[in-house]
Structures are given as C-alpha cells and as structure tokens.
C-alpha cells in the first residue's frame, strides 16, 4: 500500500496547491472586477462634476479662474461618503482646486504616468489607500487643459475583497476535504493494476532479501527454484556478482601477500 499512499498524498498535494492558486487568482480577479466597476462609477461622477470646468476650458480660460470651484467639487463629494477628495489639476498635474483644506501640490508621478497612458480617455489608478479616478478636460486648442481627479476610499472594497477571499478559502477547504476522500476512491480504482504491480515488486524484493539471509554458499539459488521474474533474476545476478567480485578481491589481496 506504500505506492497507493504515496500517490494519494501526491494527488491531494497537487489538489491543495491548485486550489490555493485558484483561490488567490480568483480573489485577485475579483479585486480587478470590483476595481473596474468602481472606476466606471467614479468616472460617471467625475464626468458629472467636470461639466462647469469644461465650459471654462472651452472658452480658453484657465481652470484656476473658476470662482466657486470648491463649492462645485464639494457638492459632488457629498454624494458619497466614501469620496475622500476631489481635485482639479492643470495640464502639468498641479492641483488648482480641491475639497481638501491642505491639498497636495501635484499629482503623484505614477498617477501622471497613468494619465499619459490613457491618452485623453478617463483613467483609473489604484493605491494602497484608495481608488483615483480622473477625466481629462480638453483645452480650446485640443490639448489637455487639465482634469479632475476623485480620490475614493477603498476600505469597503478591501473588506469586500477579503470577504470573497475568505468565502473562497472556506469553500476550497471543504472541496479539498471531500476531494481527498473522493480521490482515494478514484485512485484505488484507476491505478489498481499499478498498485498490484508494485505489491508484486515489493514481494519480490522481500523474497530476495529472505534468500540472501538464508543462503550459505555463493549460489544464492542453491537448491531453490530458479528466479521467477526479471527483477528477481537481476537482484540475484547482481548479488552473486558482488560476492564473486569480493572473493576475487580477497584472492588478489592474499596473492599480494
């Protein structure tokens, strides 16, 4: 049964590894799906907020000239408690207006890189603390006049992702336990000829060991029936050769003296 247990342990180990990989990948993928949905929603909000600023940019004025900018931004911010801040930035990423009392001087370099990569389309960037979602505002000349960025707390998203991870983990554990029992049955049936063959192999080795400890002379099969299978022939042949080679070494040693 050593063969069966070895294979069973191997199979459940593979199952465990694969289920673990699955849980990790599925949780990561859920995070991606969730982030995509949140980004879409924040883009809707950003598009709604950006309208007055677009009007200013279209007539060729700088975004910094909007007078009641903070009130406009604050109105949007209050639509969702999870919105941390809403910022308006210029083409170079400098913050012009913000709902924060002490806003950062400019966009983070990685956010600027995401902005560049988006080529004018709505963009989305995720940090350890929140989602950043932005839309660009086109200037009169067709270039970028700047844009608007919403910072959204991802505390609820993290909790949701952890929840999905825990649910998947628990499910995977149950599947693993049931699967381990089932795989024992499947292996027992599917590998029956191989299990029998390994048992024969084990028996042959045990028989050979018995022959060697019972043997008195050099001929291991002296007085016994000839080796009955290929493995036994090889085992006996190798053992006999070892003994005769040892004798030859002894004789050579005696001859030297």
């Amino acid at each position: 049964m050593a063969f069966f247990w070895r294979i069973w342990i191997a199979v459940i180990a593979v199952n465990l590894i694969v289920l673990s990989i699955f849980v990790v990948l599925a949780t990561v993928q859920f995070g991606n799906i969730n982030a995509g949905l949140a980004a879409d929603r924040l883009n809707v909000l950003a598009n709604r907020t950006v309208a007055p600023f677009k009007a200013v940019a279209e007539i060729g004025l700088s975004l910094s000239t909007v007078r009641n900018a903070r009130a406009l931004l604050e109105r949007s911010r209050q639509s969702d408690d999870a919105i941390v801040s809403i910022d308006v930035f210029d083409a170079d990423g400098r913050i012009l207006h913000s709902t924060m009392d002490t806003p950062a001087a400019g966009l983070l370099p990685e956010v600027q890189a995401t902005r560049r990569a988006s080529q004018g389309r709505p963009w989305h960037h995720e940090t350890a603390t929140g989602f950043l979602s932005g839309v660009e505002i086109a200037s009169r000349s067709g270039g970028s006049a700047g844009g608007i960025m919403i910072t959204y707390s991802n505390a609820s998203n993290v909790a949701r992702i952890r929840g999905v991870g825990a649910e998947l983990g628990m499910g995977a554990l149950m599947i693993f336990l049931v699967g381990s029992v089932l795989s024992a049955g499947i292996l027992g049936l599917g590998l029956r000829p191989q299990i029998a063959m390994f048992e024969t192999l084990e028996k042959t080795i045990s028989d050979f060991e018995r022959i060697t400890w019972r043997s008195r002379g050099h001929d291991l099969l002296d007085g016994q029936k000839p080796a009955e299978n290929e493995l036994m022939q090889l085992l006996v042949g190798a053992e006999q050769n070892y003994r005769t080679a040892g004798d030859a070494l002894d004789q050579a040693k005696e001859g030297a003296h």
């Binding site: 694969v18 599947i175 795989s183 030297a256």
Partner: protein, 665 residues
C-alpha cells in the same frame, strides 16, 4: 506471474496518473469555480447598486436644478431627449422614467428590446443573478412637497454580460490551474515512480554485467529504497576494497579482470529524461510571458523621443524581441552543445530576471526595449538549451516526443504567463507584474538546477573529446523544401493572423484587450491540449508526414474561412483551427527536419532561424499590405501560401525519395 515485474507499462501508468490527477483536480476546480461565481455575484451587488443609484441621482440633480429655477416638472423642456442621452451613456440602464406626484408618466425612455413594464423588474432573470435590486425609485422634492419620482431600471442583459465575463475569467483561471496541476503531477510521477525504478534497473543491469563503478541517488518507495541502499553499498564496498589493494596485485589478478570496479570514487548515475526540463522551462516561459499582456500599453506610456509615434512605441519592444531572437537563433544551439545545455540554461536565467526587473523600474521606451532585447536573447538561449537537453534525453532518435513536450510546455507557459501577468498587473500594477515575472525566472533557475542534472545537460561529446570541427555534409533538398514549404508559411501565419490580424480585426469590431487576449489564448491552449497526442500519433500512428499535411490543410482552411466568416465566432473558430493545425505541424516538423538534415544540430539551427525570420517577414508584409489589401484578401492570400507550401513540400518529398533510395541502395 509474468516474466517482468520491471517491464511495467510506465507510459500507461503516467497516462493513468495524469488522467486521475486531471479528474481529481478538474472536479475540485470546477466546484471552486462555481463557488467563486456565486461569491462574485453576491459581492458585486452593492457596487452595481451604487452605480445605478448614482445614475438616478445624476438625473435627479439635473431635474431639481430646473425645479429650483421655478420650472414645473411637467414643463421641463427636452426631458425626453435628456433621458435618451443618459440611456445612451450608461449601458447598465434599461429604462428611465420620470413620474409625477400621482405616478402619472411625464417622460420615459427605454432601450430597444427592453422588458416592458416595471413589473418585470423582479422577474425570474433578476432572481437568478445577484443584482436583484433592478429598480430604483428616487423621490423628486420641491420645497417640502414630493412632486415626482424617478425610476431607474437596470438592464439585465448588461448584467448578464458582466456575469459572462466573470465566468470567462473563472474559466481562464481554471485552465491556468489545470495546466499548473499537470506540470506538478508529471513532476511527481517522474520523481517518485519512474526515475527511482529506472535508476534501480540501471544499477542492477550494470552489476549483473560485472560493472561496479556507478552508484545512484538513494531513496525510493519501501523496498525500492532498501534495494538502492544495498546495491549502492556493494559498489562502495568493492571500491574501498579495490582502493586498498596494491596496484601490482590488481594487475596480477586475472579473476578481477572480468569486473569493472571504480578505483577511486564511484561515479554517480545521472539519467536524463525529457521531463527533466518541464518545470524549469514552464516557469521560465511563464516568467517571460508575464509582460506580454500589457507591454504595448506600458511601452506606449513610457517617455520616448518626440519623433517616435505612440503606435511605433507600443510595437517597439516586440520588434526588438523578434529581431533579437531571430539573430540569436542560429547560435544558441551550437552554444548549448559546446558549453552544455544545463550551463546555458542556468546562465540565461539571471539576465532574464534582471531584464524583467529593470523593465519594471524604468520609464524610458528605449531602455525598456533594450532590456526586452536582453530578455529575448536569454529566452532564445534558455529555450534552445532546454530543447537540446530534451533531444539528447530522448530514447529514440528523430522522435517527435522531445519537440512535442517542448512545444506543449512552452505554450503552457505562454498561456499561464500571459493570463497571470494580466491578472497581477491589473490588480497590483505593472511593476509588481515585472517583479512576479523575475521571481518566476529565478524559480525556473532553481528548478533547472535541481532537475536538469542528467548527462543530456553536459557538453556535447564531440566538443568534449576533441575540439575538431565536424565535416559538414550538404543538406538535402527535402530539408530546404520543408523550410520553404512548411516552416516559413506556418510562422508567417502565426505572426500575421495570431499576432497582427486578430487583435486588429477584433479591436475594430469593438472588442477590448481582455476579449482579444482570451481569443488569442485559444491558439496556445490548442498546443497544450493536443501537443502530447500529436507527438504520440507522429511517433506511433500515421507518422510525421501525415501530421504535417493534415496540419497545413487545416491551417489553410482556417485562414480561408475568414474570407466569408469573420465575426467574433468566425475568428474564434479560425484561431482554434489554426492552433490545432499548427500543433499538428510544429513538433513533427522538427522531427522531419532532424531526419532530413541527417544531423540534428545544424538542421535544427537553420530551422529555428527560419522560423523567426518567417515570423518577422510575415509581420512586416502584413504591416505593409494589410491596410490596402483588406483582411479578407490577406486571409485568402495566406491560405493560398500555406496550401502551395505544403504541395511544394509534398512534391519535393516525392522527388527526393527515389534519390535517397538510390543513394541508400
């Protein structure tokens, strides 16, 4: 009992074990997939509700602005047009209605084909999926009075599409998990059953023949472990006794002459199996492919010279990659033979890991492309080293198996690497995806160090013994016919259709990168699924020639089908058919090339170079002509080239066969 306990059907056992593992893992992963789908479904419900609520509040704020200006709800102008515009902007909304205080409809707009009537909202469809709250009611208040209500209903088709995308994502993850499971199962089967048995057989046969100079690694199940220990000890005992014997006594003893006994230390038996390369190559392939899914986007966003367009910037790393692999292809094989496949593989890992890390930490297109080039060089040397190892480890000369195994593992890595790279980049950012790739490269090095210790990883015996160059024979016409008629069209088709046309055609039809990636993945999946079967049929069934012809005809058919069926399903079917067709061609083509060239090394070096050159030429021609000729004509032209190629190759085979026979006779 039958004659041979050790003549047990190892192939049969391997196949059975793989089937058992596949069944076991598939059941588990499908069950986990179902749980994942249900969990996803429930977990995204709040987000979907938030989205619909936001759309409703957007509409309400606009209406309330009009009310604040003193316009009564019933007299707001252009309300229908505004609702229609909102409906166009938000795919998830099926219907928006503005009702008066007495629930009398004031304005409403619905998507074409939307379920009619509000009562449908809580129907069976909505119950089967998570997004049960398919209807939102938002009151419109003027002063202290409720003057109306806004009703927003979600589009169940949109929700179903989202759900289908989630299902496809889960399926991709299941496939990745299955490919990984197969690799692990094969490694376990080899290390715990096949190799110990083979080592014991080798040791026993040696000792039966009187050779006591080789010892093997200890270990093995139960009695096998004891047997290895016993017969290893025989070798050690005789070696020690031999070492203690004076040299004169050794020479004088005639009875000792019939034995080969190690005089100093017994050599360690180093068996080579094709499967030694599997895990190392798989991990290496995963590492190099992690960036494939997002590299064009990453490259496009990097700082670049002003004269370089965004399109060229996106394609530059791929171009550098192809040129570097093509340039190195003719030299990687001789390098692996001269310095040893193991050494070359291990030496390729570090530059590849460094290149991946560097690509993640720089923001300059030229530097990114240069490191991509370095990675391409490492990729070419590492993969060709693995192929060289597999060829030398193969038990039969000119067998398709080493090539089939190589292709299946490479494509398995491509499949998993691109899927994992996309996932990691999407969730944790590009930098972390590159770090993940570099980690995989390091792991592949460790796997190579542990597994590729067979003699197949050593230097070529010819280089080892004497550094005298071999006399070169002229390669036969049938070999060049294979290059021109099969290798070039096959690789040109891959480059043109899989890498170029499919993304462009699907993108122009409105499909996003994720959908395009999933369709392209099917091409590689075909190689993973059908690769082993093709190797078996090529070696034991109809033979490599039949496989080549069948593969070329299927590829030509797939390309031709695009001229009349080129929607999403047409493209998907063509990709699947092309994947199967190319799987039928790739491994047998190497076996045919090795046989036709008469010597594996040089023939395969030419073939590898031609493969890359064919891909480059195909890509170049496609880029130049695709716009003017159109997709339909380009596909038909490719089908014609593939068909003509195989006819030419078959003709050359028929012509060269009598020549070969007369030479041989």
């Amino acid at each position: 009992m039958s004659g041979g306990v050790l003549s047990l059907d190892r192939n049969g056992m391997r196949v059975r074990l793989i089937v058992m593992v596949a069944i076991s893992v598939l059941l588990s992963v499908v069950a986990a997939g179902a749980i994942a789908l249900a969990a996803f479904d429930r977990a995204i419900e709040p987000e979907m509700n938030n989205r619909v609520r936001l759309i409703g509040s957007t509409v309400r704020s606009e209406i309330q602005r009009a009310l604040e200006l003193g316009i009564p709800l019933e007299q707001i102008g252009g309300l229908d047009a505004y609702l229609a515009r909102t409906l166009d902007d938000f795919g998830e909304v099926d219907r928006i209605s503005v009702l008066g205080a007495g629930a009398d409809p004031i304005a409403s707009d619905a998507r074409d084909g939307a379920a009619t009537g509000i009562s449908d909202a809580g129907g069976a469809d909505a119950e089967t999926i998570a997004f049960r709250a398919t209807r939102f009611e938002l009151p419109i208040i003027e002063g202290n009075a409720l003057v109306g209500t806004i009703l927003v209903e979600t589009n169940t088709r949109f929700v179903r599409t989202r759900l289908r995308q989630v299902l496809i994502d889960v399926v991709v993850i299941v496939l990745v998990a299955l490919v990984v499971a197969m690799e692990i199962a094969l490694a376990i089967a080899m290390s715990s059953i096949e190799k110990p048995l083979e080592r014991i057989m080798h040791l026993l046969r040696d000792q039966v023949a009187g050779r006591f100079a080789i010892r093997t690694r200890p270990g093995g199940l139960g009695g096998l472990g004891r047997t290895v220990a016993r017969f290893n000890d025989h070798v050690e005992d005789l070696t020690e006794r031999m070492a203690a014997l004076p040299a004169r006594a050794r020479e004088r003893s005639s009875s000792l002459k019939q034995y080969v006994i190690a005089e100093d230390r017994p050599t360690r038996l180093r068996l080579s199996k094709i499967s030694d390369i599997r895990i190392a190559l798989f991990l290496f392939s995963v590492s190099t492919e992690t960036a494939v899914a997002f590299l064009p986007i990453y490259a496009r966003a990097a700082a670049r010279p002003d004269w370089l367009s965004a399109e060229v910037a996106a394609a530059l790393p791929l171009m550098v990659y192809l040129v570097a692999t093509a340039c190195l292809a003719p030299f990687a094989g001789p390098m692996a033979r001269r310095f040893g496949a193991r050494r070359i593989f291990l030496a390729s890992v570090a530059p590849s890991a460094v290149a991946l890390l560097a690509m993640g930490f720089v923001d300059n297109l030229i530097v990114i492309s240069l490191f991509r080039g370095l990675m391409a060089i490492s990729y070419a040397t590492a993969t060709i080293a693995c192929q060289t190892y597999a060829i030398r480890a193969a038990e039969e000369a000119n067998s398709t198996r080493p090539f089939g195994t190589f292709m299946a593992v490479i494509y398995g890595g491509v499949f998993c690497g691109s899927a994992l790279g996309g996932l990691v980049a999407g969730r944790f950012g590009y930098q972390n995806a590159f770090i993940f790739g570099a980690t995989m490269a390091v792991l592949s090095g460790i796997a190579g160090l542990l597994a590729m210790h067979g003699q197949a990883g050593d230097r070529d015996a010819v280089h080892h013994a004497s550094e005298v160059p071999r006399q070169r024979t002229r390669l036969p016409m049938s070999f060049f016919a294979l290059l021109a008629g099969v290798a070039i069209p096959t690789n040109a088709t891959t480059a043109v259709f899989v890498w170029y046309m499919t993304p462009l055609m699907l993108a122009s039809a409105g499909f996003g990168p994720a959908e395009i990636a999933r369709v392209v993945m099917l091409y590689y999946l075909a190689a993973v699924v059908f690769g082993p079967l093709v190797s078996h049929l090529s070696d034991r069934g109809p033979g490599p020639m039949t496989m080549l012809i069948a593969g070329a005809l299927l590829s030509a058919g797939a390309m031709a089908s695009l001229s009349f069926w080129n929607d999403l399903w047409g493209m998907t079917s063509a990709i699947c058919a092309l994947g199967i067709g190319h799987t039928l061609i790739r491994a047998p083509q190497y076996a045919v090339a090795a046989k036709a060239a008469g010597e594996q090394g040089r023939g395969l070096d030419y073939l590898r170079f031609i493969e890359r050159a064919g891909a480059l030429a195909g890509l170049g021609i496609a880029a130049l002509t695709f716009g003017s000729a159109g997709a339909d004509r380009a596909a038909l032209a490719m089908a014609f080239i593939v068909f003509s190629g195989i006819v030419f190759f078959a003709g050359a085979q028929l012509v060269s066969r009598p020549e070969t026979a007369s030479r041989g006779g």
